[in-house]
């Protein structure tokens, strides 16, 4: 199988007409990368798609004959990403959800940053522009930024799922299955935690951005309304084991019987 630099993956479910802008942004970013001599393959993983979505993918395939299409029937976007990684020809994999968009320079800038990197690094865009309902900007933190603190990764997810990573790392560290029945969701948060526990460094690519669609009924909202938590990880225990307790700890330690009696 011929090796390419980057496999650009779109995970698709039932986006319907929202899919077209996503595919266009993917083509645009791949084209920018190609102009810099970076080879790319385009892969679309459809999980339980509806007819309109399938139809759009088929039409895209007609215009992009090298695009590879896979289907799955798991209802779990994490499993779709695992399927993509296991079939990727690229040294690197970049994920895009079927209703979001990449900025033009995402693939090229991420590749250029990672190509000389010896460490296990996962890349994220510098900013995420949320459009539609409740528009806002979400700025990613780099783990090497002085302001980075792992503690609050227990409270909230620091990075979106649209990451750029080596295929090898993704194969060694597949996405965990969501289990909404057991209140375990947030596949991206869970994977971010697992990857940190596996020793990966999450970094941002300066000057890059993604556009994220705010929908009325997103998976994120379903997950939140189900009272879900991320899959647990050893990331925090590892940090605590390797970090001496704060000099001015407020953890109280009982000394001895104070004589007050019971």
């Amino acid at each position: 199988m011929k090796q390419v630099d980057v496999t650009a993956v779109v995970t698709v479910h039932r986006e319907g007409l929202l899919l077209k802008p996503t595919l266009d942004s993917l083509s645009q970013s791949a084209k920018t990368a190609n102009l810099e001599g970076i080879t790319t393959e385009i892969m679309i993983v459809m999980d339980r798609p509806d007819a309109l979505t399938s139809n759009l993918v088929e039409r895209y395939k007609l215009q992009n004959v090298n695009a590879r299409i896979f289907t799955s029937n798991t209802g779990d976007v994490g499993m779709s990403r695992n399927l993509a990684a296991s079939n990727a020809m690229g040294k690197y994999v970049a994920f895009l959800d079927g209703d979001d968009l990449w900025g033009k320079n995402w693939l090229s800038a991420a590749f250029n940053m990672l190509k000389n990197e010896d460490r296990e690094v996962i890349l994220h865009p510098e900013v995420n522009v949320y459009f539609g309902r409740d528009p806002h900007v979400f700025v990613h933190i780099d783990m090497e930024d002085q302001r980075f603190d792992i503690a609050c990764l227990a409270l909230t997810n620091y990075w979106t799922s649209l990451c750029f990573a080596t295929t090898a790392f993704l194969l060694r560290n597949p996405y965990p299955a969501s289990n909404l029945g057991e209140q375990i969701g947030f596949e991206d948060w869970s994977w971010n935690l697992a990857s940190v526990a596996a020793g990966a460094l999450h970094k941002v690519v300066p000057g890059t951005g993604h556009a994220i669609r705010m929908k009325h009924a997103s998976l994120l909202r379903q997950t939140s309304s189900a009272g879900c938590m991320a899959a647990p990880s050893d990331a925090f225990i590892q940090v605590l084991k390797n970090t001496p307790q704060a000099a001015r700890s407020r953890l109280r330690i009982a000394t001895a019987w104070d004589g007050t009696g019971i």
Partner: protein, 733 residues
């Protein structure tokens, strides 16, 4: 911008008060006083601490304003969840509410001032003591000189028709800032400096000069900050050529549409924080003075803003919904809120601090609401101790979730690790505490957790139980139904049991009767009933010793009653028994509701056989050897610790047959009274205790044996270590 317009805005800027400046200018907030009396706030600015935390906690703002008394006096303020002093200054003052003074601190704090200033005031015609009292009739009986020096001047009261303190302070903000009594300032300094004693005509002039002074303070902040770039500022706004960019930046109030530098967009900051916009405060000054310390974001950097713009330009032609998101496009794009990976707020701030203090590896966590000297608290300590014996002191973490009361901290074995959530932020509400409980379990992943009456933990189990049980094994304890005064259930067995049961491995009960009651009440099948585990609390070591001790006064007719004076304990019945047995002496230990206390005191005045002995902190410390019997009169109970203690101490027990009591006190181990509210039955039982020493010996022996078998430490820990119980070691997959 013309100078006149600038000047108008300058005056408006100074004139509009936000909460910070409101407190700064108020005589009721005393920065030095607050800092000296609240050493726990560390480096935090006293005003910021009081405004956002201390006021809500009831801490006094200064000698002139007691937040706790204000909140207690005005429950509507408490319910409104506003800072009490802000409330008083904004509306309470106008509504005629009282700014309660901190009496114990007031007198010494002002004694020195009064001594120095009293002569000055007495000699001045600008203070009219007769007019002062006539104008403020509520001061009758007080020394008007001392009141004016201590309180009235600071409150801005008129000293006489010829001296208006409020007007003087308004005209001369340096006086207000110095928190000096305005008339004393005038008499000592102002008169020599040429200031006016009735300065309203010159207010505007002084206002302008005051603003310059304020700007000077802010100027230092601006100069020191990289977020203001004077060169860039003048280049970007060429109409400012020839003006001082620093003073311009400070003079234009809310800085609408202005950027202080490529890295600080004033309008974006105001848009992100509506309180800043509402206060009409200079956003950059707000950020430098307060926002930075409060963890607020200064907004996008120039580089980030450029990336946002580039991203929008890249994709706007691909999706019509992007083009229709007007906030993303100039001139509105700055209206987007900015979120960052690192969250801000009370929970993240507390969690960040708390996380640094966490031990590395915890096998068992015990959650409790507080640690006071109650039965549930004793159960909590026993469970902690059992866990420590099983795994080691350093593998067990006790988390105090709901309050900061720790009266029973001394009960804990040496080395016990205790995390008190209120140590990190005492103002956290239950939802926030619940979130921290969830995060603790999520981050530490202990083998098991035990909830001993923690509301935050019960709520976490009810809300996130399915997820949490994939991370640890969940256990809880229940002791008895808590009832409201009108008899409705209000404890966890009513509010959280049903939602939590499916997620919990087991719930431990101190009585079998309560297990049966719960099974019947909720219609539990056999599988669910298996989750309800009887776990008798062990007797105490020091009472073991007492059991073995020979009683000195077996034949005395002195009876012990110990407990809280409340409906549950049935003090009415106790009073009737005391009256019926005048030849028996009753020592009553405890305290409680005022009406019951008074009733008992009235009886004690006429009944020499009743002695009220006051509160006790430890059952073991009572003069147990002087008593011949223990009388227990409760209307409802679980398994009261005090009864277990009495049994362990070898006292004959006469007890009402309620709750789990019959599981300990039977007709073989003591005197169980079925006629719960009938004093005759209790009197007959007491008489038998006094008149039948052989019977007493037999029943005490039976009680000793029962306690030894059922309530030994070994049986307690053995049960907790059993298969599928709290201390069972989880096998590593």
């Amino acid at each position: 911008m013309k100078f006149s317009k600038l000047r108008r805005r300058l005056i408006a800027f100074v004139g509009k008060k936000n909460n910070v400046s409101l407190l700064q200018q108020s005589p009721f907030f005393d920065q030095d006083w607050y800092t000296s009396r609240n050493t726990d706030i560390g480096e935090v600015d006293a005003l910021v601490h009081y405004l956002y935390h201390g006021g809500f906690e009831g801490r006094a703002a200064g000698p002139l304003f007691d937040s706790r008394r204000y909140l207690d006096a005005y429950p509507d303020v408490l319910r409104a969840d506003v800072n009490p002093l802000v409330h008083y200054l904004r509306s309470g003052q106008k509504e005629g509410r009282t700014p309660f003074h901190v009496e114990p601190h007031l007198a010494p704090a002002l004694a020195e001032v009064q001594n120095r200033d009293l002569d000055l005031l007495s000699a001045s015609k600008l203070f009219d003591p007769v007019w002062y009292v006539q104008t403020h009739p509520e001061l009758r009986g007080l020394d008007p000189y001392r009141h004016f020096l201590a309180i009235g001047g600071a409150q801005g009261l008129m000293a006489s028709p010829n001296f208006d303190c409020e007007a003087y302070s308004t005209a001369y903000p340096d006086v207000r800032a110095a928190k000096m009594n305005p008339l004393i300032h005038y008499l000592r300094y102002g008169i020599h400096e040429g200031r006016s004693s009735s300065p309203s005509a010159t207010a505007e002039t002084h206002l302008a000069s005051a603003s310059v002074e304020a700007q000077n303070q802010d100027l230092d902040l601006l100069i020191a900050s990289e977020l203001f770039d004077p060169v860039w500022y003048v280049r970007t706004y060429p109409e400012l050529q020839g003006l001082d960019p620093y003073h311009h930046c400070l003079s234009i109030g809310d800085m609408e549409g202005v950027m202080a530098s490529p890295n600080f967009d004033c309008e974006a900051y105001s848009a992100a924080y509506p309180d800043v916009r509402a206060a009409k405060m200079n956003p950059l000054i707000h950020y430098l003075r307060y926002g930075m310390r409060e963890g607020r974001s200064p907004g996008l950097s120039a580089a980030e803003r450029s990336t946002v713009k580039q991203t929008v330009d890249d994709v706007k032609g691909l999706d019509p919904e992007i083009e229709a998101t007007h906030q993303l496009f100039p001139p509105h794009h700055i209206k987007c809120s900015i979120n960052r990976s690192m969250p801000i707020g009370r929970v993240p701030a507390a969690w960040r601090e708390l996380f640094r203090d966490l031990p590395g590896q915890i096998d068992h966590m015990v959650f409790a609401p507080w640690l006071v000297r109650g039965g549930a608290d004793l159960a909590c300590v026993n469970i902690v101790r059992a866990a420590q014996e099983a795994r080691g002191v350093h593998k067990v973490l006790l988390v105090i979730t709901d309050h900061d009361r720790l009266e029973a901290f001394g009960w804990l074995p040496a080395g016990t690790q205790v995390l008190v959530l209120s140590d990190y932020d005492s103002t956290l509400n239950n939802d926030e505490r619940k979130q921290i409980v969830e995060s603790l379990i999520f981050a530490l992943r202990p083998d098991s957790i035990m909830n001993v009456n923690s509301l935050a933990c019960w709520t976490a189990i009810a809300d996130k139980g399915r997820a949490l049980k994939t991370m640890t094994r969940l256990y809880a304890t229940l002791f008895c139904r808590d009832l409201t005064p009108d008899g409705r259930g209000a404890g966890y067995s009513d509010t959280h049991f049903r939602a939590g049961l499916h997620h919990l491995e087991k719930i431990y009960f101190d009585t079998r009767s309560f297990i049966l009651e719960m099974a019947e009440r909720y219609g539990l099948d056999e599988n669910l009933q298996e989750k309800l585990q009887f776990l008798p609390q062990p007797i105490l070591d020091q009472l073991h010793a007492a059991t073995a001790a020979e009683k000195k006064n077996k034949t005395s007719r002195r009876v012990l009653w110990a407990g809280r004076f409340c409906h549950q304990k049935n003090t009415e019945l106790l009073e009737r028994i005391v009256k019926r047995m005048p030849d028996v002496y009753f020592d009553v230990w405890g305290a409680g509701e005022a009406a019951r206390q008074e009733s008992l005191e009235r009886l004690a005045e006429v009944a020499p056989n009743l002695r009220l002995c006051g509160s006790f902190t430890s059952f073991a410390d009572l003069p147990l050897s002087t008593y011949s019997a223990y009388l227990f009169t409760s209307r409802f109970e679980g398994m009261p610790t005090v009864l277990i203690n009495a049994a362990a101490a070898g006292l004959p027990i006469i007890a009402s047959s309620v709750g789990g009591v019959p599981e300990l006190v039977t007709h073989k181990t003591g005197w169980l009274v079925e006629a719960l509210d009938d004093e005759t039955a209790y009197c007959e039982a007491l008489s038998e205790v006094f008149d039948s020493p052989l019977e007493v010996d037999q029943r005490l022996a039976a009680m000793r044996e029962k306690v030894r078998i059922e309530r030994s430490w070994e049986s307690f820990t053995g049960l907790l270590r059993s298969e599928s119980d709290f201390l069972q070691h989880r096998s590593v997959a």
